[in-house]
């Protein structure tokens, strides 16, 4: 097996995730796309760990999973809050950062 198989898979997933983050209107979908990106990174971690025969790759993958879980929790809470305040979770409706 080639190292690149996994890396390219990760890259493809990452880009799909980027597309999802940028293109999707629903905030929940955006969060899901972010999960996709994080998973793409995880593959790289594990693949490199396997390649270099170190355990750190797996450990970091686990850490990322944990952080992702935390992130999803907080993210969804924020989405809920937004929904309550604006009765919408369409990210295009949110332009509070406009100067």
């Amino acid at each position: 097996m080639l190292l690149n198989q996994f890396l390219i898979l990760g890259a493809v997933l990452f880009c799909i995730g980027v597309y999802g983050v940028l293109a999707r209107k629903n905030a929940v979908m955006v969060l899901m796309s972010i999960e996709l990106m994080l998973n793409a990174v995880n593959i790289n971690m594990v693949a490199f760990g396997f390649q270099h025969e170190v355990v750190s790759g797996q450990v970091f993958a686990l850490f990322i999973i944990a952080v992702a879980a935390a992130e999803v929790g907080v993210g969804l809470a924020i989405v809920l809050l937004l929904y309550r305040n604006q009765t919408s979770i369409d990210v295009e409706d949110f332009d509070l950062m406009k100067g």
Binding site: A69, V72, L81, D90
Partner: protein, 164 residues
């Protein structure tokens, strides 16, 4: 090795297909289910890479916990369940362009850099016990930090989502 390659190919196909559908489907529940497929596929890939504990965690945490959270989120925000024309924004061409450009450069770099590197055959395989050892020795402080982070996220989520 051939079997592994075949397995990788099949799983990859499913994963990429599911991922694409996930970001393009107009039904948000379908989208979530495609994400489940992606995550499950990745769990398989971990197995191929001899990372059994990660694979298990992937299934438990992601498919078991995170996806449930997502579904709760979908339901709580009364997102239109079923087909909706408005799931994708008007700027998807730009997003696609950016993603393709990014993908192109990453792919080029990867092929350029790791063109024909083979994965180590018969190298040392780390089992769950090894991972445990490592986590509780070398990475004990990050582990504790992650624990605190999770706690903080928990509290933060509660504070944010409270109704008052």
């Amino acid at each position: 090795m051939v079997a592994q390659n075949i397995a990788f190919g099949i799983i990859s196909g499913i994963v990429v297909f599911s991922a694409l559908r996930m970001v393009t489907t107009r039904n948000i529940v379908h989208s979530a289910l495609f994400l489940v497929a992606v995550l499950a596929g990745l769990s398989g890939q971990y197995v191929l890479l001899a990372a059994e504990f990660v694979a298990t965690t992937q299934v438990l945490v992601y498919i078991g916990a995170v996806m449930v959270l997502f579904l709760f989120g979908i339901m709580l925000t009364k997102a239109p369940i079923g087909k909706s024309m408005e799931m994708t924004g008007t700027q998807w061409p730009i997003a696609a362009g950016v993603a393709l450009m990014l993908g192109a450069v990453i792919l080029y770099s990867l092929i350029d850099q790791f063109g024909s590197d083979r994965l180590t055959e018969g190298g040392k395989i780390y089992r769950t016990a090894d991972v445990g050892d490592e986590v509780f020795s070398t990475y004990i402080i990050p582990f504790e930090a992650i624990s605190v982070l999770l706690l903080a996220a928990l509290i933060g989520a509660i504070v944010l989502a409270r109704k008052d």
